[in-house]
Subunit: 458 residues, 2 copies
C-alpha cells in the first residue's frame, strides 16, 4: 500500500489553525530556507504574516530571499517598519537588489528607508548597472586583506567582518582598491607559520571581469576556472565586488532557459511556466507565429506559381511534406548544434569556414543515405505495394535528387545563420528551428519544382 | 589600428624552439590550470612532454586534469612510471575516475598500478556506479569530524588532513559513518569559544542524496540550496562521499546540451561540436532523419488520399505549407516550454490537468489571432492585390477554421506528450519539435481536408 502523503504545507496550515505555535517553530527549525519559502508560496496568503513571525530569527531573512516576488510583496505590505528593518538589515546587498528590482515603487521606497545609508548607496549603485551586466548581479560584500597583514591578522579580520560577507573562503588582497592577488581560507589554515605575510602567500595571478562584462560570460568563466567567486573590477581596475558560484549557477540556468525559449520560437519570459498566465503564454508566442505565418506565405506563392505543373502531376504534391519536413529537420539539427556551441564559447566567427566544411561533409552523407532510403521506399511501397502507377522511376529520381540538395542547403543555412547572427550582434538562438524551417521550406520547394521541370516537363 | 594578437601558444612554441626553458617556467607560472591545459591541447604533440616537464610541480596535476583525453593519453604514453606516479598521486579521486573512464585498457592498468592501494580501491568502487548516477561523479575525499570534538580539535584535523580534500569548507559530522550534521569553516571561525563541542555547533538538518540518485537531480538540489557540496549516502544511510559545486555546474551544462541535442532531433553526443568529425555528426543525425522521413510518408499518404479533391481545387495546395508550419511552430512552442519546465523540476505528471487547461486557453487566443490575420491577408493580398479569383471567401474560411483547430490540437499535443513521456520513463526532450511537427503535420492535413469536404465539396 502506498503511504498516505501529507505535505508539510498541509501540516503547517493545520497547526496554524489550531494555534500550536510552539510546534510550528519546531517544524520550521528542521527545514532549509528554500523549502520553507516553498511552503510560504503555497499556503493561503492570510496565513503568511503569522507564519513569518514564527520563523526563527536567523532563518527569516534567508527564507525571505527565496520566496516568489508576489509573496515577498504581500509580506512587506503587512510588515511594520521595524519588522521590515529587521529583515532587510540581514540581507546581502545582491539579494536586496534582486528584491528591489521586482517591487513596485512605493515598496522600494519603504525598503530603502529601512536599510543603512551605506547599504542604500551600494544598492543604488548596483541598480544603475545595465541589465545582464555583471555589475547588476554582483555583491559588494567580500573580504579584502592588505598585503602586509600576517596570517594571524587576516584571521582576525575575517572573524571580525566575516558574518556579513557572502563568502569568506576567498579573500582578495587589495592596496588602494587595486586587486593584487587572492588567498583562500584553505591557504591560510594550512599555512604552518602564522606570521607569514599575506603578500608571500597570495596567488598574484587573478582572473577578473568588469562590471560591464555580460553576466553569462562571467558565469562561464567562473565555471571554467572552478572559482567559488569571481572578482569584479571597474573600468579603472579597482575591485568593486564579487559574483558567487550560486548566483553564477542561477545565471547559467536562466540563460539556457532563455536560449531554449528563443530556439522554440518564443520571446523569452521572466516568469516560470507555472507562474505564466495563458495571456503571458499568448503574448510570448504570437509575434513569432504571426511572423512565421506571413513568411510561410512565400512557400504558398511558390506552389501557386507551379500550380499548372502540379495539376498535371498531382503525385508530386504527395512528396511535398516529406521533403519540407526532412529539410526543416536537418536544418534545425545543424542550427541547434551550432547555437549551443556558440553559447558554450566553442565556436565563433573565425570558425565559420571550419564549421561549413564539417557540415558539407556531414550533409552529403546524410543526404545520400536519406535519398537511398527514400528511393527504396518509393519503389517498394508506393510502386510495388500500393500499385500507384503515377509514381514512375523519374518521379522517384526527382524526389531523391531534391532530397540530397535540400539536406545540403538546409545544413548549410542551419550552420551559417547563427554564426552570422552572432557576428552582427543578434542572439544566435533566433536562428533556430522555426526560422530555419521557413527558409528551408521555400528552398526545398524551389529545388523540387526546378528539378521536376528539368526531368519531367521537358 | 588593431593590436597585433600573439597567442600565448605561439609564444611558448617559440620559446621551446629556442630552448629558453627558464622563460617558459616564468610564463607558465602566471597562468591558470584551465588556460595552460588549453595551450597543451593546441601545441604540436611532440612539444607536449617537454612542456609538461617544465610545469611547476604544484600546477602539473591540476593542469593535467583539465586537458583533452587525447592529450592526456599521449602524455601518459610518454611518461616514465615514476613521472606517472607523481601526477596521479596528486589527483583527487573523482578526477582520477574521469581520466580512467576515458583511457584505453592498457593505460588504465598503468594508472592503477601507480596509485596508492587505498585510492585504487576507491577508484574501482566509483567506477562501479551506473553512468549518470551520483556515485559516478562523487569524490570520497571530504572532511569528517566527530561530534564530541571541540572547535580547536576540528581545526587541527582540518589542517592535518585538508591538503588532500577537494573542499574543506563544509565538514561532515559523522558517528559510525552515519551523517549527523554539518558544520562550515565559517561557523568554526566565527565561533567565539573554541572549546565548543562540534555537536553543539553543527546544523543537524542535512539534505542528502544517495549514490544512485540521478546526477542531474543532485546538481539541481545543490543549486537549489546553494550548497558548496552535497553529501552522498549509501542505501544504509552511511556517508560515502560528496559532490562539489564545480562538478555540479558541469553536470547541469552537460545535461542541458544533451536536452538541446535531443530537442533538435539528434542522439546526444559526448564530444563537443568542434571535436566531432563529420561522420560523428552523421551518426548522431541520421537515425532521427530516417525515422522522421518515414513518418512524413503518412502525411504524403493523406495528400494522396485527397488527390482528387486537390485536383479539383488546386488553390488549396498553396495553403498547405502555411498550415503545416504554423501547426508545427505552435506545437514546438508548447512542447519546448513544457520540456524545460520538466527539466527544471517545475512540472510533473500531477500538473497535467493544469498544464492542459493553461494551454487550451493560450491556444484559443493564438488560434483566433492567427486566423483573423490570415483571413485579412488572404482577402487583401491573394484576392484584391493578386486577383486570384480561385481564392473565394469559402476557401478563406476553410483555411482559417483549420488554422484555429490546428493550433489548438498542436499545443495540446505539444504540452501533453512530454509529460506522458516523462511518466513512462522516457526522456521528455524526445517529444520536441521534430517529433511534434510530424504528428501535427498529419493532423493539420486531416483537419484541412475534412473541413474542405464539409464546406467546399458538398
Amino acid at each position: 500500500m502506498a503511504a498516505h502523503t501529507v505535505t508539510v504545507e498541509h501540516t503547517l496550515s493545520k497547526l496554524l489553525q489550531e494555534k500550536r505555535y510552539a510546534a510550528i517553530r519546531d517544524v520550521l527549525a528542521t527545514m532549509n530556507p528554500a523549502d520553507i519559502a516553498a511552503v510560504f508560496n503555497e499556503v493561503q496568503s492570510e496565513q503568511r504574516p503569522l507564519l513569518f513571525r514564527l520563523l526563527p530569527k536567523e532563518l527569516a531573512a534567508e527564507t525571505f530571499v527565496e520566496m516568489d516576488p508576489e509573496t515577498q510583496e504581500q509580506l512587506i505590505h503587512g510588515f511594520s517598519d521595524s519588522e521590515l528593518h529587521e529583515v532587510v538589515d540581514e540581507l546581502y546587498v545582491d539579494d536586496a537588489v534582486d528584491i528591489v528590482e521586482e517591487m513596485p515603487a512605493n515598496v522600494v521606497k519603504r525598503i530603502l528607508a529601512q536599510v543603512s545609508p551605506g547599504m542604500r548607496k551600494e544598492i543604488n549603485e548596483i541598480l544603475q548597472y545595465p541589465e545582464n551586466s555583471t555589475g547588476s548581479i554582483m555583491t559588494t560584500e567580500y573580504i579584502s586583506l592588505r598585503p602586509d597583514m600576517t596570517v594571524t591578522q587576516a584571521f582576525e579580520r575575517i572573524t571580525r567582518t566575516g558574518v556579513d560577507k557572502e563568502t569568506i573562503y576567498t579573500c582578495y588582497v587589495t592596496k588602494e582598491r587595486q586587486l593584487l592577488g587572492l588567498v583562500t581560507v584553505k591557504d591560510l589554515l594550512l599555512c604552518p607559520d602564522k606570521s607569514t605575510k599575506i603578500e608571500d602567500l597570495m596567488n598574484p595571478n587573478v582572473i577578473t571581469v568588469t562590471t560591464l562584462t555580460d553576466q553569462e560570460e562571467t558565469a562561464r568563466k567562473l565555471s571554467k576556472y572552478n572559482f567559488l567567486a569571481m572578482p569584479v573590477v571597474d573600468s579603472d581596475g579597482r575591485m568593486v565586488g564579487i559574483v558567487t558560484f550560486d548566483d553564477a549557477m542561477d545565471v547559467l540556468q536562466e540563460e539556457v532557459t532563455e536560449d531554449i525559449e528563443i530556439m522554440g520560437g518564443m520571446t523569452p519570459s521572466d516568469k516560470t511556466y507555472m507562474r505564466s498566465s495563458p495571456v503571458d503564454l499568448f503574448r510570448h508566442r504570437i509575434p513569432w507565429l504571426l511572423l512565421l505565418m506571413v513568411s510561410a506565405t512565400f512557400t504558398g506563392m511558390i506552389i501557386t506559381n507551379f500550380e499548372n505543373a502540379l495539376a498535371a502531376q498531382v503525385v508530386l504534391t504527395a512528396f511535398i511534406p516529406m521533403l519540407m519536413d526532412t529539410g526543416g529537420n536537418s536544418g534545425s539539427q545543424s542550427s541547434v548544434t551550432v547555437i549551443r556551441a556558440i553559447s558554450l564559447g566553442e565556436v565563433d566567427f573565425r570558425d565559420l569556414a571550419a564549421v561549413v566544411w564539417k557540415e558539407i561533409r556531414s550533409s552529403v552523407m546524410c543526404g545520400i543515405a536519406l535519398a537511398c532510403a527514400c528511393f527504396g521506399k518509393i519503389m517498394l511501397i508506393d510502386r510495388l505495394l500500393l500499385h500507384n502507377t503515377d509514381v514512375t522511376v523519374t518521379v522517384a529520381l526527382v524526389v531523391c535528387c531534391t532530397m540530397v540538395l535540400t539536406v545540403m542547403v538546409a545544413e548549410m543555412i542551419g550552420c551559417t545563420l547563427p554564426i552570422i547572427a552572432k557576428k552582427l550582434g543578434f542572439d544566435p538562438a533566433v536562428m533556430a528551428s522555426p526560422f530555419i524551417t521557413t527558409i528551408v521550406d521555400a528552398v526545398s520547394l524551389l529545388l523540387y519544382f526546378g528539378i521536376a521541370t528539368l526531368l519531367l516537363f521537358r
